[in-house]
Amino acid sequence: MPGATLRIWRGDKDGGDFFEYRSDYEDGMVVLDVVHKVQAEQANDLAVRWNCKAGKCGSCSAEINGTPRLMCMTRMDTLPTDRPITVEPMQAFPVIRDLVTDVSWNYRVKRQIKPFAPRKPDAPDGTWRMQQADVERVQEFRKCIECFLCQDVCHVLRDHHKHEEFIGPRFFVYSAALEMHPLDTADRLADLKQAGSIGYCNITKCCTKVCPEHIHITDNAIIPLKERVVDEYYDPLKKLVRLFIPRRAER
């Protein structure tokens, strides 16, 4: 059996350090498997989140050799094992213990975004008609598993800690899914501009790179949203119109 050394960060909000664990592993194992092996054999109280072990629930987010990734989808044989593999908690959120971080901020942010508000049903039986081609865009965004890796990597949150002003890529994706939903009637552009500070995003595309669902966060969600905001707020004609007509009536 091959072996590897994991350098796992252990500690809590008052501080911590890396600890090295030597472990062997079977063919095909992922980082989460080895973390579990360490937990079962060497450190029973090691804190780690996981559920599905198949990249579907977004629980096992961490930073592996410095890159935000899902531990359950990172195979050991894709990592160099001649030196220790570092595994540490996401940096953009406060640590609870070991690899577990406090991601509750994300849940609070979501509640502040206006919920889905459908138009009146199209058919007398209370149902709607939508073409597959028209929902595909939204279906891409709805693949999101809320792993928050994109939030973790975004410099606005990670380095500049703008959690109070900026909702982050995950919630641009969420907003885009609502804004582009064929049935939705609510308007979130003002919120995106003000409460969401979409303007802080300078399109570095780091979020897109780490997204395990391969959602084109920047190209398909953020840029179109930015364009809508620009159309709404910086179009001189619209500005003029808005002086006389309440906003809601324009769209």
Binding site: G28, V30, N44, A54, G55, K110, P115, R129, V135, Q139
Partner: protein, 610 residues
């Protein structure tokens, strides 16, 4: 020694934030009850998120011959007529409305050409019936309920685990929890409690289920005096991954077979054609060509044998492997790549991109975890513990157990599925009965006064939970006990069962109970995985015992239970369900409970669909 705890008060307490729990909470809150939802994991991470294939609802969007009568008959046939027929009836009638409601809350299902919700074929369903979103239907469902639910005034407590139910006399009075973050205790006083805790798959070694599935709801209800029903029926899904070892058991959706995937042994033989059960003879394709036409949507064609019920397919695979006709890693081959080059009804030539679009997460899963490109190479698959038909016995209309104020819905409740669940009938189950549980729990709460649980229940539960920390002399941690239990259950109470092995399992379970009582936990209470595992062990052991006792009692093979010593179905055993109840002496009682007879109008529905 009394330890500090915090007290919370609600009308309705919902344990679990999967599809059933969230749907119950939405309903309960809408009815004006102060509602709290607790879950072991974060919101949106419950098992429901992993469901792939779809949710069954006879909307008739793809085949207008479908309606509730056919769905009802399919469900009863699949369950080998041990189902609670009232639940099967309500489920078939109400599922379409529950599916449409999800759309009104923002779900985006795949569409038919005329813009309605698309439905796909699945095992045991006569017509294309599963509303779906590619192969990530569960994600769509849980996210829709979550995103709707957070705006309904519900209190959410994430990463809280219930360890005991509280009572006031005979009635329910709330529940005691610890939070993972700090390890603090919380007493939730509530007039009604809805259990929506999911399944028990962690009692077995090879499973598609996560760490959460330790049968907590089953065990909590049992300890509080409710009955457990049909526990012998554990569904082994025919297609789990078998390689690499670390992903053994992870699910390969039935949707692969629904899209035309075929099962072959190492001689290249499509072995499913070799064994067609009597009950389904009229519904299976005569040859490969007819099966493929069915997949494409030809209404004259019958289904390929790969789409027979799960119990049957799992046993056929097991037989091939045992007979030495398996794949290199002890499974069989599942091939979807062969459909390339064929034409769809619309005349489109099927290519690799088509398969990727239909089964994106399977593509991803195999590519990343096994290094297999499913559009070009066959997958290796074998049976995996997947679902428990058994659970808390409830009233079909209200979902209340025999303990006043204690409700159950979703996988942890029993009745709908009988001896075998049809794929897709769980997601619909969650919505139909989640809603009903929420509605009737709120009603019950409205009609009762706030209970007052005796304090000593709380103190003794807290002390018991903390005991493992004090056992410094013990040498063993909880994980070893858990592994040994999983290993024993898999070997002795698995897909093929015999009395002698199950008797041995009972012995081993009682020894493991001893070991669990002595195992040790290190560190402190804050987010301590070892401690959580130690606490969960009690539930795992209780449900393992229940499964084993019920399986011994049912001396026949039916649905998910296959007995090597009683390989045939017995008319006698088709007349009752098996119920497990905690006796006054604390021992587990096994009771045979006669089935209620089908009313004539439902009998007619069964007949007309034979």
């Amino acid at each position: 020694m009394p330890i500090d705890f915090k007290t919370h008060e609600h009308d309705v307490l919902i344990v679990g934030a999967g599809g059933a729990g969230l749907r119950a909470a939405i309903e309960s809150s809408a009815a004006g009850a102060r509602t709290a939802v607790l879950s072991k994991s974060l919101l949106g991470k419950a098992h429901t998120v992993m469901a792939e294939g779809g949710m069954a609802a006879a909307m008739g969007n793809v085949d207008d011959r479908d309606n509730w009568r056919v769905h009802f008959a399919d469900t009863m046939r699949g369950g080998q007529y041990l189902n609670n027929w009232r639940m099967a009836e309500l489920h078939a009638k109400e599922a379409p409305e529950r599916a449409r409601e999800l759309e009104a809350w923002g779900a985006v299902f795949d569409r038919t050409r005329d813009g309605r919700i698309l439905q796909r074929n699945f095992g045991g369903h006569r017509y294309p019936r599963l509303a779906h979103v590619g192969d990530r239907t569960g994600l769509e469902m849980i996210r829709t309920l979550q995103d709707h639910g957070i705006h309904q005034g519900i209190d959410f407590f994430m990463e809280y685990t219930i360890i005991t139910l509280l009572k006031d006399g005979d009635r329910i009075a709330g529940a005691l929890a610890y939070d993972r973050e700090w390890g603090h205790f919380h007493a939730f006083i509530a007039k009604a409690v809805v259990l929506a805790t999911g399944g028990i798959g962690r009692a077995f070694k090879i499973t598609s289920n996560s760490w959460e599935y330790t049968g907590d709801g089953h065990a909590l209800a049992y300890e509080a005096g409710a009955d457990l029903l049909d526990m012998e029926f554990v569904q082994f899904h025919p297609t789990g991954m078998v390689w690499p070892p670390s992903v053994r058991g992870i699910l390969v959706t039935e949707g692969v077979r629904g899209e035309g995937g075929r099962l072959v042994n190492n001689a290249g033989r499509r072995f499913m054609f070799d064994d067609i059960p009597e009950l389904y003879r009229n519904q299976v394709a005569r040859d490969a060509d007819e099966g493929w036409r069915y997949v494409l949507g030809d209404k004259e064609a019958n289904r390929p044998p790969e789409l027979l019920t799960r119990d049957h397919v799992a046993r056929c695979i097991n037989r091939e492997v045992k007979a030495g006709r398996g794949s290199p890693h002890g499974g069989v081959f599942l091939d979807i790549g062969w459909i390339k080059g064929n034409k769809t009804l619309e005349g489109r030539t099927i290519d690799a991109a088509y398969i990727q679009k239909k089964l994106p997460s399977m593509y991803h899963q195999f590519k990343q975890l096994a290094g297999v490109d499913i559009t070009a190479e066959p997958m290796e698959v074998g049976p995996t513990t997947h679902y428990v038909m058994g659970g808390v016995k409830v009233d079909g209309d209200t979902q209340m157990s025999r303990v006043p104020g204690l409700f159950a819905a979703g996988e942890c409740a029993a009745g709908l599925h009988g001896a075998n669940r049809l794929g897709g009938n769980s997601l619909s189950d969650l919505l139909v009965f989640g809603k009903r549980a929420g509605e009737f729990a709120a009603k019950y709460a409205r009609e009762t006064k706030t209970p007052a649980p005796a304090r000593d229940q709380i103190d003794s539960a807290i002390n018991a939970a903390l005991e493992p920390f004090g056992r410094s002399a013990a040498t063993e941690g909880p994980y070893q006990v858990q592994y040994d239990l999983q290993d024993r259950m898999q070997a002795l109470v698995g897909i093929v069962r015999v009395e002698s092995e199950m008797a041995q399992a009972l012995d081993e379970i009682s020894r493991l109970k001893e070991r669990a009582r002595r195992c040790r936990v290190e560190g402190h209470r804050q987010y301590n995985a070892g401690w959580h595992a130690a606490v969960d062990l009690a539930s795992l052991l209780t449900v393992s015992e229940a499964v084993t006792r019920a399986a011994i009692e049912r001396r026949e093979s039916r649905g998910a239970q296959f007995r090597d010593d009683y390989p045939d179905k017995s008319a006698e055993f088709g007349k009752f369900n098996i119920v497990l109840r905690k006796g006054v002496d604390g021992a587990m009682q096994v009771i045979r409970e006669p089935l209620r007879e089908l009313p004539p109008e439902l009998k007619a529905v069964v007949e007309e669909n034979k």
